[in-house]
């Protein structure tokens, strides 16, 4: 069959396709398009590192320049995944060092990265440009020194929220004097003090630096030095925002901020002394993103700052802002799209701040563009949820954490089924939902019936029976990730909806009622799923088959069972009843 276009032309056309979905669709048209496309795919996103193997990826896509990958399940963030579970990146780095010498970007989330891996990256990829390690662990500042010293064209080094063994701040001094390529540096998670003069010189010689997130150890008095050398900054994370209250420190700071006309994002603010906040006022009108979630300051100071930021689109803040502060936010920030309110005292028995459901209701009323919410509070009502749902039908992400598990509607003492039901019914574009409070199987019926675009659902201490789980698995057409803890969901719903699991990225169930026998059955029935039982009590077959497993992690894969399981993880293989790695 003759083709109208030569390969080069098709390749050129394909180069305009950035979305994986589009490229995947293109690959299915015919063998020839499949071939052309695979040779020109430059970016690969792997949502679950165990869904595929390095060899498979390399075989199909020989010319990759950028890899983005995620490892541990989301609940690892809350200590539900035991240490040593997996998600090691090293096998990937080893394979890619041979196959992709031109690799430029590696972005990882919730993976274990070692100094060895970092050193291998630094040595293997001559044109390496971007390293983003989000919520990763396993490496030290020595590994960072390798990256700094050897990656001559490094543009981004972003360690957001990773757990780094901080041996010293000396790593920063390893950036060579001729390194001028930095665009983004995020070292906010590190504890040690870096050499300030080295930092100053680095900032001064990188004219394209747009993002600079300092760590807590950089004192506020030194911040002006950096701002003067990088007035083009778009995103700034301060260090500790406190010092003796002296007028010269304040005026230096204010002057330095006034020079930064491009600032759009601010973060950091550990140990904030409110007296220094007005130093930032000159940039506030341009600020679109503000992360005050480590700033332990009270509502009046928060309100003063936030009401200066008329163009704010994203706000992360502690519940010190209280209902009154959120009301003020709703009045001033009409462009607000995302709000996250974190708890200042999550383990306290009694509320320590005047933050209730009312704050969220105010914001839902006053901010017409609000689409993404993460809200920790201590009381909620169906009425409030219904109001929020009606106010903001274009909500995309709604994550509500009522701190006391199974807390009912505080006004009526009923379950919050109706409230969350209103959310899914009204918010037809909802893609992510996290629920809390007292919830029966009814809420899952609502979700199954209405949440057709829902991709990720997080459930805790909810439901009455398998029917709840069945509603979700059978009704939510777009579901990709489901994570459940401490719910009475068991075998029936899981086995009846086994096929659904192949359409999803992963399912997590911990402290539920899924028996070992059912896990085995699922593993046998579904060869393209890895059904992994996590149980720190010892081998599951040392207990009756009807005994529930501690934790279950099920995910689709084309790579077969994994070879790196620790002693507390068992895979339910089709061949044998129990397989150890």
């Amino acid at each position: 069959m003759a083709y109208s276009f030569p390969e080069e032309v098709l390749e050129h056309v394909f180069s305009f396709l950035s979305s994986d979905r589009d490229r995947n669709a293109v690959s299915l048209v015919c063998k020839s398009w499949y071939e052309i496309e695979r040779w020109c795919r430059r970016r690969v996103f792997i949502g679950n590192c165990y869904a595929v193997s390095p060899d498979i990826v390399i075989r199909r896509f020989p010319e990759v320049r950028a890899l983005e990958m995620k490892g541990k399940p989301h609940f690892a963030d809350f200590n539900l995944v035991p240490e040593g579970w997996g998600a090691y990146v090293h096998p990937w780095i080893r394979a890619m060092s041979a196959a992709y010498p031109l690799l430029e970007e590696i972005k990882l989330k919730r993976m274990v990265v070692t100094d060895e891996s970092l050193e291998l990256i630094a040595r293997s990829f001559k044109n390496f440009k971007v390293l983003v390690l989000s919520s990763c662990e396993g490496f030290t500042t020595d590994g960072l020194a390798s990256i700094a010293a050897n990656c001559r064209n490094l543009r981004e080094l972003d360690l957001r929220e990773s757990e780094v063994e901080d041996l010293s701040g000396h790593w920063l001094s390893h950036f060579p004097d001729n390194c001028t390529s930095l665009v983004s540096l995020n070292m906010s998670c590190l504890g040690s003090e870096v050499s300030f003069s080295a930092l100053e010189r680095l900032v001064a010689r990188c004219p394209n630096l747009r993002t600079l997130r300092l760590n807590r150890a950089v004192p506020i008095e030194k911040l002006p030095n950096l701002l003067h050398r990088a007035p083009q900054l778009v995103e700034l994370g301060t260090g500790a925002y406190s010092a003796e209250i002296r007028s010269d420190i304040f005026s230096n700071l204010a002057e330095a901020f006034s020079v930064c006309k491009q600032l759009k994002g601010l973060s950091g603010f550990w140990d904030v002394v409110p007296a220094f906040l007005p130093a930032m006022y000159s940039v506030c009108s341009g600020i679109t993103s503000l992360n005050l979630s480590y700033a332990t300051i009270q509502s009046p100071d928060l309100v003063k700052l936030v009401s200066q930021c008329r163009n704010l689109q994203r706000l992360w803040v502690l519940d010190y802002i209280e209902d009154t502060g959120l009301e003020a936010l709703a009045a001033s920030c009409k462009d607000l799209q995302e709000l996250r309110v974190f708890p200042s005292d999550p383990f306290g028995a009694e509320p320590n701040v005047a933050l209730t459901e009312q704050g969220l209701v105010s914001v839902s009323e006053g901010c017409p563009k609000l689409q993404s919410v993460l809200y920790f509070c201590r009381q909620m009502s169906n009425a409030a949820l219904v109001t929020i749902a009606r106010n903001r039908p274009e909500m995309i992400r709604f994550r509500l954490c009522i701190i006391e598990p199974q807390a009912p509607d505080y006004l009526t003492l009923e379950p919050l089924d109706a409230g969350f039901g209103a959310i899914v019914e009204n918010c037809k574009e909802l893609r992510r939902l996290s629920m809390s409070g007292l919830l029966t199987d009814k809420v899952f019926e609502y979700i199954g019936n209405h949440a057709k675009k829902l991709e990720m659902l997080s459930i805790a201490f909810a439901g009455d029976s398998d029917l709840g789980l069945h509603h979700v698995l059978s009704g939510c057409e777009s579901l990709r990730k489901l994570e459940i803890r401490d719910c009475p969901f068991g075998d029936k719903a899981l086995l009846a909806n086994a096929a659904k699991l192949e359409t999803m990225r992963s399912l997590w169930m911990s402290s539920c009622s899924v028996s070992f026998g059912a896990c085995k059955l699922l593993g046998q029935k579904m060869p393209r799923l890895n059904v992994e039982v996590i149980d720190e009590r010892g081998p599951p077959d040392s207990r009756p088959e009807s005994c529930p497993v501690e934790k279950l992690y099920v995910y689709r894969t084309v790579a077969g069972r994994r070879a790196d399981m620790p002693g507390f993880v068992w895979t339910m293989d089709g061949d044998k009843s129990l397989t150890f790695s």
Binding site: F78, P219, A243, E244, W270, R537, P544, P548
Partner: protein, 198 residues
């Protein structure tokens, strides 16, 4: 300082000045905490379970949890707050000294030509601190007593608290001292007598 730390703490009679919820004279955890912890474990028990063995296993776990009067939220990973954030909040609960991270306070001694700075977080208790001060300034501070203060010693340690008042070191529980101390001053014994007699 030949006494053991425990004896030293007893002498400071910390329990009497310790701030706790509950009636004076009781040693138990206050009532409301107990009822909350048992109710939260009851909540978890109410979830229907399909396996009796599982019930057994879970109940032992629950009993362990509710046996000791645990504070409300001892469930693993709940509320869902990440470790980094938890740690930062814990640290920031104690108000920092003016200089930001660490709890550095100035220490002056009467007659010394210059001041020193120490990190209060570095010390575990009064014994530690006083020993360190004695070493740093080559002086003897002596032993604290509630009635007499540091009477009889050459020097007495005092501190300026959050309200700007000068206090004798040792009166309040260590943790309370660490969060309220702004700066230290090692006073000549003769001057300090005045403070101890209050």
């Amino acid at each position: 300082m030949e006494r053991s730390a425990a004896a030293f703490e007893n002498d400071l009679n910390l329990k009497a000045t310790e701030l706790r919820l509950g009636l004076p004279g009781t040693d138990n955890e206050p009532d409301h905490q107990q009822s909350s912890s048992s109710s939260s474990s009851q909540l978890i028990k109410n979830n229907k379970r399909s396996c009796s063995e599982m019930d057994g296993a879970r109940q032992t776990g629950q009993q362990q949890e509710s046996g000791a009067p645990a504070p409300k939220a001892q469930v693993v990973g709940w509320p869902p707050v990440r470790n980094y954030r938890k740690n930062v909040l814990e640290q920031q609960k104690k108000p920092e000294s003016d200089t930001g991270s660490g709890m550095f306070v100035k220490v002056s001694m009467d007659g010394a030509p210059y001041l020193r700075k120490i990190d209060l977080k570095f010390y575990k208790n009064y014994l530690d601190l006083l020993k360190a001060l004695e070493n740093m300034f080559k002086c003897t501070i002596g032993v604290y007593s509630e009635r007499e203060g540091y009477n009889g010693s050459e020097y007495a340690p005092t501190y300026e608290d959050k309200d700007g008042d000068w206090m004798l070191v040792g009166d309040v529980p260590w943790d309370m001292f660490v969060t309220s101390c702004r700066r230290l001053r090692i006073m000549k014994g003769s001057e300090a007598k005045g403070l101890a007699c209050l």
